[in-house]
Amino acid sequence: MSVILEAKDLRREFGALVAVDDVNVQIEEGTLHSIIGPNGAGKTTFFNLVSGTLRPTAGRVFYKGEDITDLPVHKTIHRGIGRSFQITNIFPFLTVHENVRLACQALGKDSFRLLRSHRKYRQYLDRTDEVLGQVGLTDKALQVAATLPHGDQRKLELGMILAPDPEVLMLDEPTAGMAAEQVPELMNLVQSIQETGDKTVVLVEHNMNVVMSVSDRITVMHQGALLAEGTPAEISADERVQTAYLGELYDSAAEEGTS
């Protein structure tokens, strides 16, 4: 196995606040790697830095050994990195089908074709059906996305990053706001996608339980910095992680960094 994605000394400041503090993470190919931490730990900022939506103050990001730090967002997708967002980000007034179809079309070379109906490009339609089947939205293909229940919108979003068949999937709290019953279902879906497609998945979560059973490796962030890294077993045994999670009131080791 080789390292597919690497963050080197990544740092981001917002004014006086250091949101991400010199973080080093290596993500190996074909693994499900989770980044967890309590609210305000800087996970989402870190995630945005790696996926190219934010520019770091310092540090670099490498993908397959190439420096992708300054790559524009739309190009990272073409390299094979798909990402989802914490806040549901879809085309609310297009149908579920069209949402996914647009995602499929993005990677083809037909997007500048002007005169043929989009319905005549079979390859995207077939791929769309495939993806909709994968995330279980076939029945709802013709609904307007905004009318879907929240859980299904999360699935749709997953479908949209899955559509171009990326090598790395970056998911920011895919279970945010979902009912406890639905969480295992979605996580199983993510796991099966990762295993069957031999993909690399980077998962950002604030709920520790969600990732324990599915992750290959876990990185714990706390107040912008790396707190621990290891297998799920190692992490659940780590006392620092426990205290960080439940509240850091009596944790003398915690730094007074963020304020």
Binding site: T53, P72, V73, H74, K75, I77, H78, R83, N89, I90, F91, P92, F93, L94, T95, H97, E98, R101, L102, A103, Q105, A106, L107, D110, S111, F112, R113, L114, L115, R116, S117, H118, R119, K120, Y121, L125, A141, L142, V144, A145, A146, T147, M160, P164
Partner: protein, 367 residues
Amino acid sequence: MTSTTLDQSAGLGDWLRRRRGLLASFALLVAFPFVISIIVDGQGLAAVVNNDLGNARFLQGLAIEVFILGIYAISYDLILGVTGILSFGHAMFFAVGAYGFGILLKTFELAWPVAVLVVVIAAIIQAFLFALVLPRVHGITYALVTLGFASVFWIVIQSSDLADYAGAEIGLQGVESPAWFLDTTNERFIFYLLCLGIFFGIYVLYQRIVDSPAGRVFVAIRENEDRALMLGYNTFWFKTLVLVIASITAALAGMIHTMHQPIVTPNVAGLFWTVTALLVILIGGMGTITGALIGAAVYRLLEYYLDRWFGGASGLLIGAAYVLLVLYVPFGIVGTWRARAVRIKQGRDRLLRLFTGGDDGRTPARE
């Protein structure tokens, strides 16, 4: 207008059936001058072909104005209604065609195909000028910058410095028709048919564009540009493409205008002409393409009759109608009609807020 089924083996009969509304209205408009000639003027059919005076001739002229306005508005609909770019410089797109064509014919005495070619090239350059600013400024600032561009053009075109070319405040006059079929005075019926043809051609072309893969990306940019970018679309180039298409179309409308009107006044470069385009697509329904044409007809006829009935006060009435439209019928004619057909229960409030006509969320891609 478009089918909901996926069929690649549609025969001619099927094609005709699907396009029956379009074909019927085309036929109707071809027959229109003859009908008027017989019923209103009491003249024979030959009167139309011979360009005899009468209501038929006058109404052909009015219809040509509707076609010009329609072509102009449809190009604005592509920019604002379909792609969601708020540009307030659209009059310049039209005026470059109108003035450019006239000046090239009159002062430089170019052959008309060459003049058309030069105008198209100018339109493309102009579209790139408008696109150049896109990555820097957004939303209202973009509207202001484009308004600025158009204002510069408007000021320069009517300044005394260019009086020899553009005729200063009076406007460009004395452009002679370069070909018999472009002669609105002597060959009114032929010119009418030509404009009708272009009008329908543009309409079908735009329908196809909106339905094409690129057209779907335009809609996606309107709905959520960030998301489109993150799907991997380089939205800048798509927006540039939109501007190029719209610029050429509007310039085409401008060229027909130059042929049809005895004087090209600086008004066609002013803010009010942009507002007219806005008004037309508001009446018809933003982002619906069809709406731009219906809106053009309604607007031009309303303007004509209000002016006849109320004279000076007609401007006031048009203004009031515009304000009421913005407040109470934001979807326009086509949009309202479609929204009524759709009735997305929860989405409706939100729909109101966007200028979508609702054709996107609804058209199912497959069954």
